[in-house]
Amino acid sequence: MNGYAGRTVTKAPDWHGLVAWDLLFNNLTTGLFLVAAMGELAAPEVFASVARIAYPIALVFLIADLILLVLDLGDPWRFHHMLRVFKPGSPMSLGTWCLTVYSLPLTVATALSLFPEADSTFDWLRKTTLVLGLLPALGSAAYKGVLLSTTAQPGWKDARWMGGYLTNSALLLGCAVLLTLAVIMGQASAAATLRTALALLLVFNGLTLALLAANLRPALSRLFNRGQLWRVGLLTIIGGFLAPLSLVLAGDRPVFILAAVILVLSGSTLVRFVIVKIPHGSP
């Protein structure tokens, strides 16, 4: 009697694991650059040496992300078609251009980091590069969530805080990676500041995740049964939030900090895989 009523009208795109990893690497590269550049610009004496290691790593994350983006295309040989037009109204087009522009200062910052002799000569170039990279890096982090929330897909279309969560998460991840570098390099002053920052960002990120979860609740209920929902929820809250927060607050021992960072990365990866799975779980 009801014909096609109750069926999902929309079609889920062929976005699976590659896109989940893309969300992670995008946030890692942009977050790491933003945190390192802000640190170096605000307090160069504390963060300069750790930031110089961070830029090449951010470039590696960016290259990994771009490879994932190309591989996820239906026709990867046409990846350059993305640069045919500039459509600010399309989050994917805006994001592509932001990533392209962001790659330039990041590459220059990496090159200057790899040649310290040249770096001291071109200090002004380094600082200008970092400043110029901030906005496209933020744009590259911000577009991802909006890209998903402007689709017609069940769950995503209701996720008003998708962009808020992912952008915030990018900075959390960047802070976590930079903290790891500071700990490994024995930069105690930078590590102390970043440890406090990580604790505060975890709280902020928990808030944006809670807002996103509230948006996604009906979709998550379709994706998981009650028991699964509890398990995923508890795993995310305890493993990705409470446990790393406790470890960060417990002290400055490297083992605690590294464990906290691993948990943050694992929790963030899990959330991204759940996000990507949502449209595929509709009736």
Partner: protein, 316 residues
């Protein structure tokens, strides 16, 4: 019209000149960035589908596949009435839907011979003996099309007939249009990785021909023409149906709503849109985009503020 088709068929086929590999590679790299002169704008055209006269013959599906040289999807029994096409896809740009509205306890005995059933009046509600609803679904060619708004390559355009058209040489299969379409029309093909959907027979229109599906439809359920004429024709038909007692008939997509633009492929329906597999109230997600960007920036700005304060304090 048939003679025009025969005349066109006699024209010599074009041929591509042989090209070296380097030229082909350069063409591949540079070609997408070249711009030709845009064609002159023509009156907007579209489809009007009167579902009350659809008989579910699937001639539209066959004509579409034949003209557009779309491969077979194989035959899969869906168990859903006569609908074995199942959905619109990269290789099925028309999809005839079948809705059987029969009471659970209805007897499936044919009416006594000699008893005539009036074809003039379709009952307003489901009659005791039940009824069939059939609808040929297709791309809605939205005036403000989310797929076109989403497309990052500019492959999706409104062509000179104001139809939503995918330029097959530009699409790179990013699938954003698939995700953006609220009607579930566009699909990425396995065979070439590109998105495909109804072109509203752009090639036929350019030659002054009617789209293949509309031409093949034996009951004129699918009508093609200038969109303003179609709207007027459809409104008259709805009035006629109301006069005949079918007060539940209405137009879907002929006019814009507060959340969605008008469609250049619109329908006469007699039941809820969801019964036909259409969204009850289509929503263009681009309406939420500004707010989503604001929240994205707020999420980032909060973290940036925390970091800056700590860095400045920690640095001194």
């Amino acid at each position: 019209m048939a003679s025009r088709e025969m005349e066109l068929a006699t024209l010599p086929a074009g041929s591509d000149l042989p090209r070296s590999r380097l030229v082909a590679l350069l063409g591949r790299l540079i070609g997408p960035f070249r711009r030709g002169a845009p064609p002159q704008s023509r009156p907007a055209t579209g489809f009007y589908t009167d579902t009350t006269v659809c008989i579910g013959c699937k001639a539209c599906e066959v004509a579409c596949k034949q003209w557009n040289q779309l491969p077979s999807d194989g035959l899969h029994w869906t168990g859903n009435s006569y609908d074995n096409t199942a959905e619109l896809s990269a290789t099925s740009w028309r999809h005839v839907k079948f809705i059987e509205q029969f009471p659970e306890n209805a007897s499936h005995v044919a009416p006594p011979s000699g008893q005539r059933i009036s074809l003039e009046v379709v009952p307003n509600s489901v009659p005791p003996q039940g009824r069939w609803l059939m609808m040929s679904d297709v791309c809605k060619h939205c005036v403000a099309a989310p797929c076109q708004q989403a497309c990052p390559t500019g492959a999706l355009i409104h062509n000179e007939f104001d139809n939503v058209y995918i330029q097959p040489d530009i699409c790179n299969g990013c699938s954003y249009c698939v995700a953006a379409c609220p009607f579930g029309v566009i699909t990425r093909a396995d065979f070439d990785g590109h998105a495909h959907k109804c072109t509203l027979c752009y090639d036929r229109q350019k030659d002054g021909l009617v789209p293949a599906c509309a031409k093949a439809c034996p009951t004129e359920s699918i009508q093609f023409g200038p969109i303003d004429e179609l709207r007027e024709r459809a409104r008259k038909r709805v009035d006629e149906l109301h006069r005949l007692g079918m007060t539940g008939a209405y137009l879907y997509g002929d006019a814009p709503t507060d959340t969605y633009s008008e469609l250049h492929s619109f329908y006469i329906l007699v039941d809820h849109p969801s019964v036909y597999g259409l969204p009850e109230k289509p929503f263009n997600q681009w309406l939420t985009m500004k707010g989503d960007y604001v929240r994205a920036v707020v999420g980032g700005a909060a973290a940036i503020a925390v970091l800056l304060v700590l860095f400045l304090l920690g640095g001194h």
